[in-house]
């Protein structure tokens, strides 16, 4: 039997619509599931149910061969026996323990010597040298985040659960830590479940993305699938990024990178080095359509392609263009008529470099 994770739970809070989550995905050594959706969509409840901190009134949770929850068979494995690493949104560091004390807190089963060695390993891995005796309140946000992660990872859990791992950080730190965290997760080779409401984080971390809205799992799939082929209008609205394609960096100049996507070159924002493979993300509303061969604008990217489809979305129309890769643009009905767009017509799609987000993986 292939290793897999099965989540099928119902949890009701008084006065709110019930949360139903049914997610099943195959697990290899370090598969990362991202629970993605707006606040109040139930993602944290699913994560806390995985941790054993929330008890759904009905359902099943299976992790590989172990059943953690089966309400019918009255199986309820407590958090202590699940061997998980859990990092809540605000880290929940123990204020009366030092950094080393926090990291060593979950190592009760090791001998004192092994414990010291493990804490030292973690301090090195998470670059906390010199802070071993500091109290959590003396640390910066980024350091606190690393201590919380080190504490969760130290007991060698079989699954890592991260609730909005970057939301407590300020914006500049967040971008830097995002990359570090991705590298660490790869290095640790540890399966994880990550909750986020930020699409850049979802695309950075997710091998599998489960989109949640209003208490339901709306779509489960690979990042590209979920973002480029949302199952319905609700998912499209939540993800908000219509074009997600793979590319590789061919030129790098201080954060402005040139990427090649299936023969087409684009300029976009991203600090990834030359040769790195990236996800190229473009929101349909950031794409401007012009008559093919018309005058230049200040936009860095002008892609010529042919229209492959048009889908009305309220007063707007989503136009799909094949310019080496499928690109979605959102235009008004008026603009569509001005450009006399129909399936097969040639068009130039323009977008600023700032609208082309590159996400390293």
């Amino acid at each position: 039997m292939a290793a897999e994770v099965v989540i099928d739970i119902t949890k009701t809070y008084p006065g709110r619509p019930p949360i139903h989550a049914a997610i099943r995905y195959a697990l290899d050594q370090a598969t990362s599931l991202v629970l993605f959706g707006p606040s109040g969509s139930g993602k944290t409840t699913v994560l806390r149910s995985m941790a054993g901190l929330e008890w759904p009134e009905r359902g099943t949770i299976r992790f590989i061969s172990r059943t953690w929850l089966n309400t019918e068979a009255r199986v309820r494995v407590p958090p202590q026996q699940r061997r998980i690493g859990y990092m809540p949104q605000d880290y929940a560091l123990f204020p009366h323990y030092s950094v080393a004390g926090n990291i060593g807190y979950g190592l009760g089963e090791l001998s004192p010597v092994e414990r010291t060695t493990r804490v030292e390993e973690m301090v090195e891995l998470f670059q906390l040298q010199g802070l071993e005796t500091a109290r959590p309140r003396e640390l910066s946000g980024g350091q606190q985040q690393r201590v919380a992660l080190a504490r969760a990872v130290a007991p060698r859990p079989q699954l890592l659960l991260l609730d909005e791992p970057l939301s407590a950080l300020d914006a500049p730190t967040r971008v830097q830590v995002r990359g570090e965290l991705r590298r660490l997760l790869t290095q640790l080779a540890l399966p994880s479940i990550i909750v986020t409401h930020d699409w850049t984080e979802a695309l950075t971390f997710g091998d599998v993305i489960a989109v949640m809205g209003k208490g339901n799992v709306l779509q489960v799939g690979s990042p590209k699938d979920v973002f480029s082929r949302p199952k319905n209008a609700d998912v499209a609205l939540i993800v908000g990024v219509e074009t997600v394609v793979e590319g590789s960096v061919i030129e790098q100049g201080e954060g402005l990178a040139t990427v090649r996507v299936n023969g087409t070159t684009l300029k976009g924002l991203g600090a990834d080095p030359v040769g790195a493979s990236v996800l190229v993300c473009i929101r349909a509303e950031d794409v401007v359509l012009e008559q093919a061969g018309s005058g230049m604008t200040s936009a860095r990217n002008h892609l010529v392609g042919s229209v492959t489809g048009m889908m009305p979305q309220g007063v707007m129309v989503q136009v799909m263009i094949d310019c080496g890769f499928p690109l979605a643009a959102l235009v008004t009905r008026g603009a569509m008529e001005d450009l006399s767009l129909r399936v097969g017509s040639q068009v130039t799609a323009a977008m600023k470099a700032g609208a082309v987000h590159l996400i390293g993986r």
């Binding site: 054993g52 958090p79 699940r82 929940a92 123990f94 009760g108 969760a152």
Partner: protein
């Protein structure tokens, strides 16, 4: 001043506080973290000594531990003498009488401990007991000290319960407050005044310590 009575009182108050740490901590933990819907029934019983006249409480304890009750018979068989009008009987009554003074500050302090810290401890493999010892108790020190000190001070000044359950046996159950009453009955106002002042000063100092600690005017406890 009657040093014998002071000795009995201090011994009684110390043992009561000590016993209340042992009994009060689990009760306070249960009161704070239980999700049982009828929890308030237990909470009201624990708080009963706050409002019940000490003579009423003393009367029921006296009946409950008297030689005609099942409890009293067991004790008499084991110890060879009945429980009322002994120091042990008085201690038992004091523990019940001061229970809310320990349990309520303990529970209030536990309530203040961030639930997320407790959950983090569970996910790190620590059992509920380990979490209590390593996390909840150290983060509740101010409340624990308040509970110990308040139950100590409350036992120092108890009168009605002592009279009902302990009687007035010098060196055994005659506490400071009984001694003051005796002095006044004997029209020895000077003796009563001295002992009363002693009790007033001690009680005031104890409360001073509790309030100062909760305002964190001393830097022994780090500020949040």
């Amino acid at each position: 001043m009657n040093w014998l009575a002071i000795g009995v009182t201090v011994k009684l108050a110390s043992l009561t506080s000590l016993a209340l740490v042992a009994i009060g901590l689990p009760i306070a933990y249960w009161v704070t973290f239980s999700t049982w819907r009828w929890k308030f029934l237990v909470e009201s019983i624990v708080a009963l000594p706050l409002v019940l006249p000490p003579t009423v409480l003393g009367f029921y304890i006296l009946v409950a531990i008297g030689p005609h009750s099942p409890l009293g018979r067991v004790y008499t068989d084991l110890a060879g003498h009945p429980l009322p009008f002994t120091f042990e009987g008085l201690l038992l009554a004091s523990i019940l009488y001061s229970l809310p003074f320990a349990v309520q500050p303990f529970a209030a302090a536990f309530e203040q401990v961030d639930r997320r810290l407790i959950e983090a401890s569970w996910t790190l493999g620590r059992s509920k007991v380990q979490t209590f010892v390593r996390l909840i108790v150290p983060l509740s020190t101010a409340g624990l000290i308040t509970g110990v000190v308040l139950s100590f001070a409350h036992t120092l000044g108890e009168f009605g319960v002592v009279l009902m359950v302990g009687g007035n046996i010098a060196g055994e159950t005659r506490t400071v407050s009984i001694d003051i009453y005796d002095e006044v009955q004997a029209l020895n106002y000077a003796g009563a005044a001295k002992t009363a002042l002693f009790l007033l000063v001690i009680s005031y100092l104890v409360l001073l310590a509790v309030y100062a600690m909760n305002r964190k005017v001393w830097s022994a406890w780090p500020r949040k």
